[in-house]
Amino acid sequence: MSQLSSLIKREISVVLKSQSEFVYPLAFFVIVTSLFPLAVTPDPVQLAFLAPGIIWVAALLSILLSLNSFYQADFEEGGLEQLLLAGVSGANIVIAKSVANWIVTGLPLVIVAPLIGVLFNMDWQANWVAMLSLFLGTPTLCFIGSIGMCLTLGLRNGGVLLTLLVLPLFIPVLIFGTSAVQAASTALNYNGQLAILGALLILTIMLAPFAGSAAMKISID
């Protein structure tokens, strides 16, 4: 456990040194969501209808963008290889990076999302469920993203391939997340969807570190 917590501290300290970098995904999220009222319609009723999907897709894309900064530098400078050679477990590295990624990217998204929801004329019930669904969903996305990132570490066109690999795996989370918010905005029961999001999170946390670790060791050899 102490190995894990010191790894997480290392990750966060690295990110905090380049403070601007962790603002980028958040800024991306805000900008992308603002594009839709401009591009599609400013009508409040329609915006409230589109909001769950837009917020979720924007959150998903923001996390996708943030993955790179946690892995690429470490890989290129040989830090990952050194950690593995020093006997640090690959699974712990993946967990640490995913957790740090969530704290730095996912958590701000969860906090900012209701503000965007207000801009989109969502009622408070839907807003609250949007926060909850993102709270449960974004960590899952961070872990799944880690797997994709580890698979494409050494590759030339890694970024584009990462998108292709990871988005299909994101889709179940996306579907349940938006479904929960839509249910809330039409005053239906949303507990089932939140429960499934929770289950997906637990499943991912249990399995992703091993998949990511195996992938990391392949990429480093």
Partner: protein, 248 residues
């Protein structure tokens, strides 16, 4: 009995094994298709709601079933190759991918063409169709990832991990029909209940499913043969085989 199974791990043995089986598989596939198509197109009844459109079921359901079956084969053989470092397992896994992608594509197209006259829409974003589309992306991702690596061994292992991670999608597709009651009809074939389908329809459907299954094995073995030749080109038996063939 187990020696036979372990012998399959040798590319040379597998190649000869494939050569022996292929004529049989080809003929069985052909016969099954002819029988199945006759049963399905000529000797099965119309559906009282859908009319003749139900005949698309005889190619849509086998394609969809095979798309999932092939993915499971691809993931399991990839896993076997990854854990026990067996080359042939990776050959099987990589050869499965394009075939599975084709089945998935066919399932989506026939599903769409079936939907239009029956329910008035070419596409509906319901659970099963969406997860079948995700399956197509998984196949394409697998092939793209495998292609991206220069070293074949690394490519095999990375793709195997991806296949195993994506296997979560298969239960989602299978159970989505129970979880969501939208456009897609409920399951008609179950192990425990009597099927709610007409006997003639069932005969045709089962024949076509087995036909598709045999087709998969046939085409898979053909792909594997070519893949083995490519991978083992520096070995003695491939050299003598190829040079003997060209000198004949």
């Amino acid at each position: 009995m187990w020696t036979w199974f372990f012998q399959l791990a040798s590319p040379k043995w597998f190649y000869q094994f494939a050569d022996k089986l292929l004529p049989w598989f080809r003929w069985i596939t052909l016969v099954l298709f002819l029988v199945g198509l006759t049963l399905g197109l000529l000797f099965s009844p119309l559906d009282y709601q859908q009319g003749n459109t139900v005949r698309i079921m005889y190619i849509h359901v086998p394609a969809a079933f095979l798309s999932m079956f092939v993915y499971v084969v691809m993931a399991i053989s990839g896993g076997i190759g990854f854990i026990w470092r067996i080359k042939m397992a990776h050959v099987v896994s990589v050869s499965c991918a394009p075939i599975g992608a084709i089945f998935t594509f066919l399932a989506l197209i026939t599903g769409s063409l079936w939907g239009k006259p029956t329910w008035g829409t070419y596409w509906e974003w319901d659970a099963r169709m969406t997860s079948e589309l995700i399956l197509l992306f998984l196949y394409l991702g697998f092939m793209a990832l495998h292609n991206a690596f220069d070293d074949r061994k690394t490519a095999d292992r990375a793709a195997a991990i991806l296949a195993l991670v994506g296997i979560v999608n298969i239960p989602i597709i299978h159970f989505s029909v129970y979880w969501w009651n939208s456009l897609h009809q409920g399951a008609t074939i179950s192990k425990f209940e009597k099927p709610s389908m007409d006997a003639d329809m069932l005969k045709a459907l089962l024949t076509m499913i087995v036909a598709f299954q045999m087709y998969f094995f046939t085409v898979l073995l053909q792909r594997i043969k070519a893949e083995i030749l490519q991978r083992e080109k520096l070995s003695g038996w491939v050299k003598s085989r190829v040079t003997n063939l060209s000198s004949n």
